[in-house]
Assembly symmetry: C2
Homo-oligomer: 470 residues x 2
Amino acid sequence: MSGQEPGSEPIIDSQPPAELAPAISLEEVGRIAERVQELIAAGNQAAAWQRLRHLHPADVGLILAGLPRTSSEALLEIMSPQTVTWMLQHMNPVEAGRLGARLSIQSLSFVLDQVNPRHAMTALQRLPLRRAQQVAEQLEQPIAESEILNQEPNTAGALMTPRLVAVNADAGLDEMRAALEALQEDRDRLTYLYVLNAEGQPEGQVSMVNLALAPAAATASAIASPLTAVVSVDTSAQECARLRRHYNLTQLPVVEDGDLVGVVLPDALLGVTVEEDTRQMQRIANVAGERADGPMALSIRTRLPWLTINLATTFLAAATIALFESTLAQLVVLAAFLPVVAGQGGIGGTQTLTLIVRAIALGELVGVRAKRLLIREATLGVIHGIWLGLLVAVIAIIWQDNYGLALVLGLAMLGNMLIAGTVGAGVPLLMRRVGIDPAVASAVVVTTFTDVFGFLLFLGIAQAAISLLI
Amino acid sequence: MSGQEPGSEPIIDSQPPAELAPAISLEEVGRIAERVQELIAAGNQAAAWQRLRHLHPADVGLILAGLPRTSSEALLEIMSPQTVTWMLQHMNPVEAGRLGARLSIQSLSFVLDQVNPRHAMTALQRLPLRRAQQVAEQLEQPIAESEILNQEPNTAGALMTPRLVAVNADAGLDEMRAALEALQEDRDRLTYLYVLNAEGQPEGQVSMVNLALAPAAATASAIASPLTAVVSVDTSAQECARLRRHYNLTQLPVVEDGDLVGVVLPDALLGVTVEEDTRQMQRIANVAGERADGPMALSIRTRLPWLTINLATTFLAAATIALFESTLAQLVVLAAFLPVVAGQGGIGGTQTLTLIVRAIALGELVGVRAKRLLIREATLGVIHGIWLGLLVAVIAIIWQDNYGLALVLGLAMLGNMLIAGTVGAGVPLLMRRVGIDPAVASAVVVTTFTDVFGFLLFLGIAQAAISLLI
């Protein structure tokens, strides 16, 4: 709350340094974070801040985001609003989002109300959209550009910045340079300026390199190159990230009703890519949206529904076993082998699933026929099943000296690995076909299949061949 | 093999187009890929190429990478070496790597021998390092710069390009522009040029924006800003990606013995980030390094060892169950409930594991004490365990009308969810502490714990309380 309360620590710094400090290693950041935590625990906030103030703002932010909430708030109280804003501006959106979640909306709006609105807006855009909206609503002096925060979440409109350079086709070198100069420090983030046609629509781009090398008499259109991609305000963030990644682009112009209204810069897309990959990884495990050190209530809300759904599927597996109660009563040792066939199927199915989900997300399966992938994974399942089946058979003979059991186990293993491969590939491919995110619920569906079929195959074959076993 | 064989299809194009085609949607790419596949199947390679030749090279490459091997080779035969090279140059490294794996080393070296060595080198650097080395060895006219390919894999030295601009501190505007101009088309990829001190070491950078806006009398040192990060040739690719991500950098200068020898550009790092995230996701499932449509032998080599290790852990679980054979003989229905407690623990443990592994990879846990995370996950385990324990107890009463069984199940569930949370967080945190990639083997270790303890708790409590159950 930056020292507005009487009796709080004095603000030690007023202006952030003019130049950014050099990078340090993650280990070094960790060591400083520990020392800072000790100093704060000892009540010495001022000394803690002395440790931080000469670091790069991205490192200061990373350390603040990792501290317990009370410690980071204690430090914020002795940082000036300018320094807090400068720190957010220089963090990447993923880390800024984490830090933003630690700070109260009141603290953030108090800070941003006291700084240059241009800087405040850049800092706001580093935060996740909802949080930024909440902070913007609390500002006493609303920021003119903050209407961008009301764009549909997860679209180019919400990711873009309106601070771009656009000139007419006949603009000369001086005009282009003046337009770029007018952007002040925001110009440093641009790699292109845009060339508009007579209707005001973007028709080309001039790279900063071409601008630097242009002869004195050059016009914008003479040194422009064509635009590879133009997105609209409602293009999804995922599509923007795909365009950047696939076509090696550095920035994307954004149009609304044909007019150029903004530009999506790489740092905004870095956030999308990292968040998207994280969400995808977490979706396979059904923890999407959680943070390892986030609020516990969110973790419960995220995980408990999936754990409960999974409970239903384990009871489906239990019911399968119960069908064979009489067979189990005849040979109790069968129970010991229950986790073997089902467990191997679960692991095999998850291997296939993860591979396919990731390939779909990277657009690697475009034009690859689903049938080819299914046959590939089914074949792998059979090959793995033969090897694992032979292995379990040998172990069963050594351990239980029971050739019948060995045969049953081996066959069940072969069958379940085939099912694991087919289902592990089939479920995500089917989900993609019907337009559902392939990562959602896939793991639960796949392990349900491998559990149920694992028990069904093992106990079913055992029942049919019970005379060989006892 | 680009038409060197008598009787092959004639080469239709000789030079790639001067301007890149605009972006198209992934659905559109998919449709064209299907049509191309049909045309090739009908033996009409020339018509297939007509469909492709007006697309952006990144799209041509994506489609070629998705075709069956024989089809992509058929198309390659009617593309000129210039076009194949141009295509590789404009693909991102992830997709180029996929395509490169489809083409034979002979085809690639044949193609690259016939084009401008500058282009050949850029195309080579798009390929995975090993493949690029193999192709470079086969070239009849070795490329001077190709010594870069002999750098240690997965380091800045292997990722960098030597094509950079460096000037002395007192260089004037004309000198800087001339140096940039000399780079030809490679200059388009740069956002900074470097300023060297008297010893030839990099001491600052000039952005293209500053260069474009510089007054005529400016010197390099006057418009330079300090370097945030300088890496050495043996800095790891992961550290380079972290520096870029964390500090929002666009390019990294690379030094060797103090001399500036190269620059790591964003497209090279995009490859590292995507590959790194993919590998991390795949490591949790133990399929790291595979491609969904890659060679089957690689898939077997990758998965089978893990499946075999996992088999050992399922037999550990089996041995645990076998310890309680007499208890199971007294009440066979216990066997039906075996997958319930163990399965829930496995899911819960994997949820925690995934969350922690990802947070570690993103550097989110720097300065966060391991104890705090362990307590958090253990607490969540207890909360989830109480809910799930009550639920299984209720189901057991309804299904089996056995209050003793309900009690045993509920207690075992509570205990195993606590173990799942503790182990799910503890294993990756411990692995990080001892310097092992937390994703490796974590899932196998965690599910082994939850399986063995799930059976041990459930059957152990049942044995102790057997009089309540029957």
